[in-house]
């Protein structure tokens, strides 16, 4: 079954739980773009959302750092403040991805027991279609170096697409992350919005493959370590031209909501 929808979404927790430092009007504009994604996702009638996210050292800590991982538990649960989330996991697709991904040469880790990171539940809070569908959390290590290279992420995305195309389910592919931000560093208040704008212009021309040639150093310098999740998605999408539904740079974060035709 071909992929039925493809999006890249932000997950900054200030969209979910807003501190007084955040511009409320900007947050609401991002919510409006995510509501449009929810409308489109609902119309696409996916059986499952394969959600590519970067772990914020929440599911995985320094006891084991998988470069690429698939969550194959029955349910995926996480919490933030007073919110408690639990999502059904589409075990047949999750298992097919880890088994066939390994057959294809990607040494994937898998887990049946990690807490879900906000990279996953923040986008789902706003964009889960109605009625809700099961998910498959796909992890890309973005914060603990050495991270997988952009070329490797792109290659995994291509393999992911081949596996999904041969499946019976209607699959929505969603990447969660970015764009430029530098949490915990002295660059927090000065993201690289020029990088973001050039990237979005390039993606609108269908040049997603260019991202496979970025280096880890370039991503770190641009505050775009999380772009690895987008690059994985781009590997699955080839030359499709991005539609930028929103780009809302806040004082510390480039919030981008992007759709691709499939």
């Amino acid at each position: 079954m071909p992929v039925v929808a493809a999006f890249a979404l932000p997950h900054t927790p200030q969209l979910l739980v807003r501190p007084p430092t955040e511009d409320r009007a900007l947050v609401l504009r991002v919510h409006a773009a995510l509501a449009e994604v929810k409308r489109r996702l609902t119309a696409a009638r996916p059986d499952v959302i394969a959600l590519i996210g970067g772990d914020h050292i929440e599911g995985f800590f320094l006891n084991a750092v998988p470069a690429l991982a698939v969550y194959v538990g029955a349910r995926a649960a996480g919490e933030f403040g007073r919110y408690r989330y639990a999502f059904d996991v589409h075990e047949p697709l999750a298992r097919a991805l880890v088994e066939q991904g390994i057959e294809a040469g990607f040494d994937l880790a898998y887990s049946q027991d990690v807490p879900l990171d906000y990279a996953f539940y923040v986008p789902l809070h706003f964009a889960m279609p109605a009625p809700a569908v099961p998910i498959v959390p796909l992890y890309v290590n973005v914060y603990l170096p050495p991270q997988p290279t952009p070329a490797r992420c792109y290659g995994w995305g291509r393999a992911l697409r081949s596996i999904v195309d041969a499946r019976p389910e209607r699959v929505a592919l969603v990447a969660s992350g970015g764009l430029s931000h530098f949490p915990g560093t002295d660059r927090y208040a000065s993201p690289d919005f020029d990088f973001d704008r050039a990237l979005l212009a390039s993606l609108a021309e269908g040049r997603g493959a260019d991202t496979a040639r970025l280096t880890g150093e370039e991503l770190d310098k641009a505050g775009n370590v999380e772009l690895r999740t987008w690059i994985t998605l781009l590997g699955a999408l080839g030359a499709a031209r991005a539609e930028v539904l929103a780009y809302e740079p806040s004082w510390h974060h480039g919030n981008a909501v992007v759709a691709w035709p499939v």
Binding site: P13, L15, R18, H31, G81, L144, G184, R187, E217
Partner: protein, 91 residues
């Protein structure tokens, strides 16, 4: 390359990163720390330099000791969400 914003976590900083991870991810650990900071820091095996940096939650000092910047950031967010809940708007 010059040191990355998100650098390789030095092994010597493992106790500090483990403590920051607990503050970020474990409400019970945050409650123990609030109730008895000294005992909690001893429980995590933190040395004098780490304990001093945590006393003021000085980001630059913590990162200088090998703390992962993201862990410092989110530990602080989670602590402030509990200390000042009324200032946050839930959507």
């Amino acid at each position: 390359m010059s040191e990355a914003h998100y650098f390789f976590p030095p092994a010597a900083a493992y106790p500090l990163n483990r403590f920051l991870f607990a503050l970020k991810s474990d409400g019970a650990a945050r409650a123990r720390y609030a109730a008895d900071a000294g005992a909690t820091l001893r429980e995590f095996g933190l040395d004098e330099a780490a304990r001093a940096a945590l006393a003021t939650f000085d980001r630059d000092r913590l990162v200088g000791l090998g703390a992962h910047p993201y862990l410092v950031f989110m530990a602080q967010v989670r602590l402030s969400m509990e200390r000042e809940p009324a200032t946050f708007e839930y959507f």
